[in-house]
């Protein structure tokens, strides 16, 4: 049976380790994805509708549920590479974000680990 619980604070059964439910909602990652190097496969994800191979070294993460604004926090790490990496600000939107991997002279494909936290719509 489906059920809904409305509380302000969670504690363990001993009454310790208190945490406000606002921290649970606000502190949880809202989207993440582990992808392959070419940006064509999503190995695992949360809140991702699709992945777009935008260009070499550039992968666009399309969210199932959008963020409320574009001020969400983005983290990006690549596997096996030591490239310069970043979330491209000019392509950051409430419904998508783009991770880029750059060697210093050219873009390079790399498996991307992206994480997003912030307010959902």
């Amino acid at each position: 049976m489906a059920s809904e619980l409305r509380v302000n604070t969670l504690k363990d059964a001993s009454g310790n380790n208190s945490i406000a439910t606002s921290f649970v909602a606000g502190g949880s990652a809202k989207a993440w994805a582990d992808t392959n190097a070419t940006g064509t496969t999503v190995n695992d994800s949360l809140n991702l509708s699709s992945l777009t191979d935008a260009a070499t070294g550039q992968q666009t993460f399309n969210f199932s549920t959008s963020f409320n604004n574009t001020s969400y926090c983005s983290l990006l790490t690549v596997r096996n590479n030591v490239n310069q990496i970043w979330i491209e600000d000019s392509n950051k939107a409430t419904g998508s974000a783009q991770g880029r991997s750059f060697t210093g002279s050219s873009y390079q494909d790399a498996p991307q680990n992206a994480l997003f936290a912030g307010d959902l719509a």
């Binding site: 049976m1 489906a2 059920s3 619980l5 409305r6 509380v7 302000n8 604070t9 969670l10 504690k11 363990d12 059964a13 001993s14 009454g15 208190s18 439910t21 649970v24 909602a25 606000g26 949880s28 990652a29 809202k30 993440w32 994805a33 582990d34 190995n43 695992d44 949360l46 809140n47 549920t65 409320n68 983290l75 990006l76 790490t77 690549v78 596997r79 096996n80 590479n81 030591v82 310069q84 060697t103 210093g104 002279s105 498996p111 680990n113 992206a114 994480l115 307010d119 959902l120 719509a121």
Partner: protein, 136 residues
């Protein structure tokens, strides 16, 4: 009305490992379990653990190389690792995870500095690491 719920374990009704929580905009929901950070650690440049969650230990594998030994293993190796390095002035710091040796209970992280020409030198550094994904 303010309310407090005291429990040791929260379990979904329909699916034990899946609980929805309402998003900040009050119109959507997100998955509680999948949004939670499953592992995190902050360590100094001596690789001593300052604080951590769901970590048994760190293994020093050499200069700039460290293994995160996970207490409760991940369900698969498709988890999301993120790391941030600090402590080097004047240099661009870099961090990455070695996918070739990554396992459900082991995340091998590397760190170092990058000069203006893009040359990387492994180096011990203060760093923070986090892992999101599915627990076993």
């Amino acid at each position: 009305m303010a309310s407090i719920l005291k429990v040791d374990t929260i379990t979904g009704v329909s699916t034990a490992g899946s609980i929805a929580i309402t998003g900040e905009g009050n119109s959507t929901t997100t998955n509680l379990q999948q949004g939670l950070c499953k592992v995190w650690v902050e360590h100094g440049n001596d690789f001593a653990i300052d604080d951590s969650f769901n970590l048994t230990s760190l293994t020093d594998d050499g200069t700039g190389l460290i293994d995160l030994n996970i207490a409760n293993a991940m369900g698969n190796t498709n988890y999301v690792y993120n790391g941030a390095v600090s402590g080097f002035a004047r240099n661009t710091t870099v961090g990455w995870v070695e996918g070739s040796t990554l396992a459900t209970s082991l995340a091998p992280a590397s760190m170092g500095t990058m000069d203006g020409s893009g040359n990387v030198s492994l180096a011990d550094a203060r760093a923070g690491h986090s892992i999101h994904g599915d627990l076993a």
